[in-house]
Amino acid sequence: MAVWLIALLVALVATVQLRSQAEVERTLATADPATLAFSIDQLHRANDALEAQIGVLTQRKAALQSGGGPAADQALQDEAEQLRIIEGLVAVHGPGVVVVIDATGLSALDLEDALNNLAAGGGEALAVNDQRYVVSVPVTQTAGGVTVGGTLVPAPWTIVAIGDTTRLGETADLMTQQLRGDRRVRQASYRVEADIVIRSVVSEKPFVYAEP
C-alpha cells in the first residue's frame, strides 16, 4: 500500500513539475529566432530603462531620508511637475521631431499607429495639428474625418514628438519611408528640431468610477 502511495506521489510530482516547466516554455518555444532576437533587443532596452529608473528613485529616497521636511517638499514638487508633463496637463518644450503626413483616406487607426510608433520610439510628449495627445485621449473616426480629443484634425497631419532625437529620428525615418509606399499618401517627411514647443494641454478629468 505504502509503495503504491509513494509511486502515486512520485508520478504526481513529476507531472506537476513537467506541466509547470512546459507552461513556462510553451510560448517561447513556439517563437521563431527573429521573434526571440526582437525580444532580446527589447528586453535589453527595457532593462536599461528600468535600471535608470531605479537610479532616479534611489536618489529620491536618499534625499528624503537625509533632508527631512524641506527635501520632501522639493521631491513632491519635482514629481508633481514631472507627472503634469507626462499627463499632458502643462505646455512643454524640448528637442524632437516634426513629422508631416499629407494623405487622402487615412483613418483614425492610421493616426493611432503613427502616434504609437513615435511613443515606442522615444516620444515623451506628442501633439497632432496642435492637439495634445496622451494614451487616454481618444482618436476617433467621424463622418467629418479624424478627431483627437474631440477636435477635427484634417490632413495634412503635423505630428510633433519631443524626446531623444536620435531614437525619434530613426523612428521617423523608418515611418516616413513606409508611409511613402502607401498609395493614399501624397507626402511624408520629417525634420529634427532642437526645441519644439507644445502649448496645447489635456483637460484633467476627475475619476467617477475608480477608487484607490
Partner: protein
C-alpha cells in the same frame, strides 16, 4: 511486518522514485526538441530571453519597493506639515491618473486568444493576437471613458507604447506577453461593454475572428482591480514652458 518486508518495500519505493525522475527527465528532454543545431540555437536564445525576463521582473519589483519606501517617507514628512500634506495630496491624485497607484471599480474584462495554429493557410500568422489588436482595444476602452486599463497585469500609463512581432505583445518596459491576453478596464461598464460588443468596432479583429478563429470574450464585472504601474515613467527630454 518482518524486516525483509520493510527492506523490500523501501527498495520498491526507491526504484519507483528513480523511475519517476528518469521519466520526468526524459519527457522534459523530449519537450526541448531534437538536438539539431537550429534547435540548440533557439534554446540558447530562449535561455537569454528567460534570463532577461528574470532581470526585468527583479528590476520592476525593486522599483515598486522603492516607490513604496518613498511614499512612506513622504507620508511621514506630511504628518508634520500642512503644506507638505497639501503637496502630497496633489501628487497622490497625479499618480493615480498616471497609473502609478492600484485602483478598483466597475469595469470589463476582455479575453483575447489567438486562433489555433494552422488556421491561416496563407502562412501570415493572422491567427495570432498582435500588439495592434491590444492597442486597438485599449484605445477603444479609453475612448469609452475608461479611467484605468491593465493588459495581462501591466498597467497602461499616459506614455504607454506597444510593439512586438508575430504573436508577441510588448508594452513599455515589460516582458513579452503572449496569447491569451486579458485586458481589464475600470470605468463606465455599460458604455465599454456596448462598444466592445458593437460589430462595427475593432474591424481587423472581427474579420480574423471569423477567418482564423481568434476569440474575443467580453465580461462586465462590478469590481475590477488594476495593479499599479511598476516600470520607469520619466520624461527626461521634456520641460514645462514657464
Amino acid at each position: 511486518m518482518g524486516r525483509n518486508q520493510i527492506v523490500s518495500t523501501a527498495l520498491v519505493a526507491l526504484v519507483a522514485l528513480a523511475v519517476g525522475f528518469l521519466l520526468a527527465g526524459q519527457v522534459k528532454a523530449q519537450l526541448q526538441g531534437s538536438p539539431s543545431n537550429q534547435v540548440e540555437r533557439n534554446q540558447a536564445l530562449i535561455r537569454s530571453v528567460q534570463d532577461l525576463e528574470r532581470d526585468n521582473g527583479a528590476d520592476r519589483a525593486k522599483i515598486a519597493a522603492l516607490r513604496a519606501d518613498i511614499d512612506a517617507l513622504e507620508a511621514q514628512a506630511a504628518s508634520q506639515s500642512q503644506s507638505t500634506k497639501a503637496l502630497q495630496n496633489q501628487v497622490a491624485d497625479l499618480r493615480a491618473h498616471a497609473g502609478l497607484t492600484a485602483m478598483h471599480g466597475p469595469g470589463v474584462e476582455v479575453d483575447l486568444t489567438s486562433g489555433p495554429p494552422g488556421t491561416d493557410a496563407g502562412g501570415q500568422d493572422r491567427n495570432l493576437v498582435t500588439f495592434e489588436d491590444v492597442q486597438d482595444i485599449v484605445n477603444l476602452l479609453f475612448a469609452m471613458g475608461a479611467e484605468g486599463v491593465a493588459v495581462s497585469g501591466r498597467r497602461i500609463t499616459p506614455l504607454s507604447a506597444y510593439s512586438g512581432s508575430e504573436g508577441e505583445v510588448i508594452i513599455d518596459q515589460g516582458p513579452p506577453l503572449f496569447s491569451p491576453i486579458r485586458i481589464v478596464a475600470v470605468g463606465d461598464r455599460n458604455l465599454m461593454e456596448a462598444a466592445l460588443n458593437d460589430p462595427t468596432s475593432l474591424p481587423s479583429l472581427r474579420v480574423r475572428q471569423v477567418q482564423f478563429e481568434l476569440t474575443l470574450v467580453v465580461t462586465g464585472a462590478p469590481n475590477e482591480s488594476l495593479p499599479a504601474y511598476d516600470a520607469g515613467l520619466e520624461a527626461p527630454h521634456v520641460s514645462s514652458v514657464q
